[in-house]
Symmetry: C2
Amino acid sequence: MELKIALLSGDGIGPEVTQQAVKVLDAIAEKHGHTFTFTKADVGAIAIEKTGNPLPNETLEICKNSDAILFGAIGDPKYDNNPDNAIRPEQGLLKLRKNLGLFANIRPLTTYPTLIHKSNLKKDVIKGTDFVIYRELTSGIYFGEHTSSSDGKTASDSCTYTTEQIDRISHLAFKAAQVRRKKLTLVDKANALETSRLWRKRVTEIGQQYPDIKLEYLFVDNAAMQLILKPTQFDVILTENLFGDILSDEASVIAGSIGLLASASIGEKTALFEPIHGSYPDAKGKNIANPLASVLSAAMLLDYFSLHDEAEDIRIAVEKSIELNISTPDLNSTNHFSTTNVGNFLSDFI
Amino acid sequence: MELKIALLSGDGIGPEVTQQAVKVLDAIAEKHGHTFTFTKADVGAIAIEKTGNPLPNETLEICKNSDAILFGAIGDPKYDNNPDNAIRPEQGLLKLRKNLGLFANIRPLTTYPTLIHKSNLKKDVIKGTDFVIYRELTSGIYFGEHTSSSDGKTASDSCTYTTEQIDRISHLAFKAAQVRRKKLTLVDKANALETSRLWRKRVTEIGQQYPDIKLEYLFVDNAAMQLILKPTQFDVILTENLFGDILSDEASVIAGSIGLLASASIGEKTALFEPIHGSYPDAKGKNIANPLASVLSAAMLLDYFSLHDEAEDIRIAVEKSIELNISTPDLNSTNHFSTTNVGNFLSDFI
Ligand SMILES: CC(C)[C@H](C(=O)O)[C@@H](O)C(=O)O
Ligand SMILES: CC(C)[C@H](C(=O)O)[C@@H](O)C(=O)O
């Protein structure tokens, strides 16, 4: 198979980790006789520095002309504490999602037996946890109208959802549940928000088309508790943009290392794959960042093109590296390996 | 001291747990020579059943003519899954907060050494956790405009904040930090929301009036992780309504039992005290619900009127009951006591 992949490594540790994912994909291409071509493009703080724009047109064009996007990380602390800053790295990612129509963010969460002891949660609580979050990604409050009064004393954000926006991701989530444990939990705040009531109504209706799926509802405040109280109760979690943002980051804590968690953002035409960790500026350039989340994002990319054997090859290599303790300092405090070392091991193993 | 207390026990387990808090307050009044008078009023599902209104005018009047409100719980599952329901129990609480101007919800979180093993988090992670969340309670998206298009295909909620709304709770939070460990963490989503940028700007300015306080910022998604990754890093957490709702429920998991967590909602004229657990309909009428959160809410009420010795008496009694294992089934699975038993022990001990 030939695949054109846009490489948006972004800020902070983004470049070093995606470099390992590319290495691994190259090894897969060689082993299985595929041709993967990578085209680099700037996004985020680095793009602002070069062009003044967190998502230059050229980058968007490269993405549109690619089959998929491999994304690193975005963000730089120098923009965070200046609320007056009109241009921010994150806009690059938000605009990219919107422009490419990447409406569904998919974040799987499983535990690795060999890493279970690293979690802050007790082993008995997390053992067997295996769920996936479907987060709506191109609507809701992050994409609503943002206003600020001229005297600077009032600010507003608006959150809107349409049935169409709810439907498309809901169908994906129900279908995912069908090939999993057949349970879907809708998270909303229907006791306080109109958009949540629309979600609840609509998802209930759609659920009738999937009679094999057990549909449950949780208020978002309760969901934030339940994730920690009993993570094994979940199979597919479906939710809107902001709630998904918060809950998926919270859920990342369960596995014991955020350095292992990958995500896919799916649209109608293309898809983007990225680790869920951020740009981690303190580790930038130190060759200590864990590349596994980026490498596992590459595996999700392969799955997306139905290259399941290839994806499995990557996952086996990742598990082997963990088993052999060929790991970066976050997983291996005594005898650790560098980002590049881990990438080399994985590509050699494949 | 004479105190007129409105008793809004509400739905589910609300009545049984507040009854124990009243017992305990009566014991305190007797011991310390105070006069506490209680006036019952309906709110929530029970009020809807009786009057069609989740917050009858009479209830509001009783609250306005009281020095403080002791609140039980609100909510009934029969309203939850019917998004078309125009009248819902929760409106009673939201309207009460708005009408009484209860703009600051205060939720302290500490761990009890004897209960630490009950948490899903590891002992080393939570030992020494001691923070308090200041959640803005009468503005933001729960109180914004809620609209639904006539064809039922679009819904919107709007979130607005003014500097005035931010200022009043921020000053309370900074002052709380001054008598604690002098650290304040503002939680927002300033990389995506205009209201969050206003919060960040304003709180930064206010912070200059409190040079002794170390001010930090966290994005809400990161905060949801940090609460579980390192709960001991927090002292005072300040945040807007929705984020506070989610994070404070999440935080409740740390202590090992939600049945122990109390909250105060403070306004300019009056204040309301309630357990953070909900109406827990499955336990209703079974005399098994844990009354400690309600009893500890009563202690917060006493603190509010500077009756610190009295509040301390309650806390000592609570700790004693835990130590002696005179506890409801959630804390004591083998030899448990009933809700009434625990209430009796506490009032006798005082
Ligand atoms: C960078 C930020 C705008 C983004 C979001 O909140 O969507 C990030 O937190 C994420 O979850 O991908
Ligand atoms: C009942 C509900 C509207 C309420 C809220 O979200 O404010 C509750 O969850 C709370 O936290 O007190």
